[in-house]
Symmetry: C2
Subunit: 562 residues, 2 copies
């Protein structure tokens, strides 16, 4: 049963990866820990020489035309600059959009008929080859986003691949629930029953557009890419002008796999473009585009939701992530954990906390009462200690992704009392890297106009509230009004925890409770954590669930008597 029966012969790529798919489908039903892609860049996982080969492949691309042969190429485009200080000098095909779209539609006409097994099989093979290219892609992620290497490898490599596979698993799980045929036999009293044969065909919506972001081009790009591709849609990938390379590598691999599987490679294409032009907007409004996946600013996300009415639009925008500090039995663990969350990738994660609510009367800890000011000081000390050594600091912070972060960081210094000032860090290997430590500013409860906005980057506010009830109320309003991807609470009181859960479920935000160990609120694990809820303004969808995939395809039936 199921649409897998639609094709007489199982697709070889589907067969090759069937076990992985089955385990992935099992994993999304359990949502415990699972991954097929090792997150450690150890040679034990990826082979001796893989790291060096990946680095060499990346280095070899410097000042070249990226090897991607696409139709309708009318020039070259691209001016990426590594946050570590080097201009990449790589250029990409600049397409004539009308002509490219014609090629994409031609490819789509063939692809849409291939059926779920072929779509899913090709996706699984693409992911497998992407996994093998993890080092090359990690270097590309590092030098476009500013992530430190290990994070670029993990988040940009295996973790992103996990998210892609998770989307394929959800797509398959939904598609296989539609039978490819049915016999409808209606009893007619003593007469013969009426019998009809019905066939159900899964048809894709059309052409999908994936709009990549600057900070996590693969991690945020793969779910939409694979959700659309696995449901039979052609996909146009439009990277952020500052982070083209990781997605160009991805598109190249996808096209290779499509070609190897006998499909027109134009099922997956790249539209690289320069900052400041209107390529994203004009693409998103084209009538051929039936699906848009977007990660980026609230302004751009809202514009898409408002204007790209011909398409299903899935957005992850910005929000104000919050930490409610009520009390703790492990103050050192709290400070260590929170300090790391603020510092990791310079606070440039969509999940990084910004607002830390602390009662103005202070909090109870295992070693006695800690005043508001003492809390802020302890957090400042925690961050300072974590980042005291420049080499260690650079490994945690990575580099500043763009000048907007620097401008906000400077502006935020004037917002209130500075508990910890930001400072530049020098990178041992890349002296021109722009690296900054977090800024921590103390704010009053009344500074709502400040702290209810997102200050994307290494900027944290410690906010004196009237107590935990007040903190919860502020957090509730902030999520409902401004959106959030994460909420975190620290308390020794079951009652406070229960209240925080209530708030989280009421306004629709993921909650982490008493993180004092080696899991951080920033982290969202594929196959287990839903990233975004689709229930608050920060995102209109979750990565990844049934709703994320179920409307990317439709079912068309025909019936006749038998």
């Amino acid at each position: 049963m199921g649409n897998e029966a639609a094709t007489a012969v199982t697709h070889p790529f589907f067969e090759r990866h069937r076990t992985t798919l089955e385990r992935a489908v099992d994993a999304i039903g359990q949502r415990g820990y699972w991954t097929p892609y090792p997150e450690s860049p150890s040679p034990r996982n990826y082979g001796e020489g893989a790291a060096a080969a990946g680095k060499a492949a990346f280095d070899g691309l410097a000042n070249t035309r990226f090897p991607l042969s696409q139709p309708a190429t009318v020039g070259q485009v691209g001016s990426e600059r590594s946050p570590y200080g080097v201009r990449l000098g790589i250029t990409y095909p600049k397409p004539d959009i009308d002509a490219l779209m014609a090629s994409v539609e031609l490819a789509q006409a063939q692809w849409r008929k291939a059926g779920p097994e072929a779509w899913v099989g090709v996706c699984l093979e693409i992911l497998d080859r992407i996994n093998k290219a993890s080092f090359e892609i990690a270097n590309a992620v590092m030098h476009t986003t500013g992530q430190a290497f290990v994070m670029a490898f993990q988040a940009g490599g295996p973790h992103a691949q996990d998210r892609g596979l998770e989307a394929v698993a959800y797509a398959w799980d939904q598609m296989r629930r539609v039978p490819d045929r049915a016999t409808w036999e209606k009893p007619q009293g003593r007469g013969d029953p009426i019998r009809m044969e019905k066939r159900f065909r899964i048809v894709p919506r059309g052409v999908a557009l994936v709009i990549g972001c600057n900070t996590f081009p693969t991690w945020n790009g793969y779910p939409g890419l694979f959700a659309s591709l696995a449901t039979g849609n052609a996909v146009i990938v439009k990277p952020h002008p500052n982070a083209i390379l990781p997605l160009a590598m991805t598109v190249r691999i996808a096209r290779d796999v499509l070609r190897d599987a006998g499909f027109d490679p134009n099922v997956v294409t790249l539209v690289a473009h320069d900052a400041g032009d209107d390529v994203a907007q004009s693409l998103a409004l084209r009538p051929e585009i039936k699906i848009v996946d977007f990660t980026g600013s609230t302004a751009n996300g809202r514009w898409l939701e408002e204007h790209a009415r011909q398409a299903q639009v899935y957005t992850e925008k910005a929000g104000v992530n919050q930490v409610i500090v009520d009390s703790t039995g492990d103050f050192k663990g709290l400070i260590r954990n929170l300090a790391f969350s603020l510092a990791l990738y310079t606070g440039q994660m969509c999940t990084a906390p910004q607002n830390v609510y602390v009662p103005k009367e202070g909090i109870d800890t295992e070693s006695g009462h800690v005043s508001f000011d003492a809390f802020a000081q302890a957090l400042a000390d925690g961050v300072q200690k974590l980042l005291a050594d420049d080499a260690r600091a650079a490994d945690v912070l990575g580099a500043v992704v763009n000048d907007g972060v620097l401008r906000r960081l400077e502006a935020a210094r004037a917002l209130g009392d500075i508990a910890l000032d930001t400072r530049p860090v020098t990178h041992g290997e890349y002296p021109d890297a722009t690296i900054r430590t977090p800024l921590i500013v103390k704010l009053k409860r009344s500074d709502r106009a400040t702290y209810l906005n997102e200050w994307f980057g290494p900027i944290a506010f410690v906010i004196a509230t009237d107590g935990t009830t007040d903190s919860l109320a502020i957090a509730r309003d902030a999520v409902a009004g401004h959106g959030a991807l994460t909420l975190s609470v620290y308390s020794t009181s079951d009652d406070v925890i229960a209240q925080a859960i209530d708030v989280a479920e009421d306004v629709g935000v993921s909650l982490s409770i008493n993180l004092t160990g080696s899991v951080f609120v920033n982290q969202s694990a594929a196959f287990s954590d839903f990233h975004g809820t689709g229930a608050n303004p920060a995102a209109n969808a979750a990565l990844t669930d049934a709703a994320y995939v179920a409307n990317r395809f439709r079912v068309v039936q025909h019936r006749r008597h038998i």
Copy 2:
């Protein structure tokens, strides 16, 4: 596993109907024939005296205030008139919308926490009690829509209940796939694994609005009502001003069940209103409304899609249904089947055919060639024969639902050569009923501006095309540009059938092939046929599939170390 485990004690209504639910979930996976609600109004199914009791209950409502106690009632409203000629004289509570909404939100705050088992259990009990009230509701459907009694019973009763149950089954099938908790255990080399407990809570979107239509208030209303209710949303039902009673009865039963289950009955409320006011629009735009289900005109549906941006909007609008006649091995069967499809409920079904494409050179049949004119004449004769007897005609036609149909019918007489003129029919029991037989007009291929519009009512066009290839091309353009709920093809050629399937799958419309027996293109069977595809302009969703339910709820998680 699954969210059913969230509540320690299984809800008694869930337990009572568990077998029905399990069979319904099985049915949506198979999509063969299944129903728990007998479509025959026989006493064997519904008990001796049920028909009379239902009629008496309906009759007893004439010229009364409908017994529905709702909060915030500030007056009475309602001026329904039976298409069979009687003013019903029933009035309904007229709510103050602000105050009603406050009560609904209060009820919703409790309902949203009850969880999937309670939501689904309550829905199943409501459907069960609605089934027992099928005769009462059938009379209400008959005297608001103009459907003949048997159709009002079947389509307005058991078939509508099937569609409601189908939506509940899809909702349950999606919700149960989200585990209510998971243990996440990440290996750490030789060290202890990191262990976290994660909880996943299904939360509804908020308050849902169901906008009913004039012709099928229950059949088209129940899917949205039950899809939203089963996923934890409160539901406001806003009937068409001409067809309030069937949905008022439904709401009354729902409120009784909610009360019996210990919930605030304001989880389901009725907003009756007069024609011509702006209640529907202003309700649909309220920030509390997170889901809208609509069946009605293209203009109103598009308005909702355009303006109700705070909500998930599911629309079934209008379209141009088409029949491609290429050739047949059963000409008599074709004519008999098509004639019935045109006549059934006076062509006032959203699935009724309008355009019949016939090659201008005629078609081949089992008894030789039939010219275009002979085909049109045969179809006219078929309809005439079917409706020759007034009593039989009234049973097939029912009554004209509203004056708009009469106006279009008159206007259509001037569009071309009349193959069959419309005539009034006298009803034996209801002399004031407005009953009309179908009008069949012959059109040229070049009359596109006429036949690509929807002429809702008993109006059919027989259109002379340049051949079947041309017919297929016209049909393709019509579906893509104007939408359609059904497409039908008659051909003895496998190649033509294959081409028709291609067209149907390309533009996203359900196809019926060579219907010459006792199944009609108008008919769409719950648990088997998807009604609407969501892939052409006639509807942005299908009744009912995973996509129809999966985004009516969200998942909110919390996690902590263990």
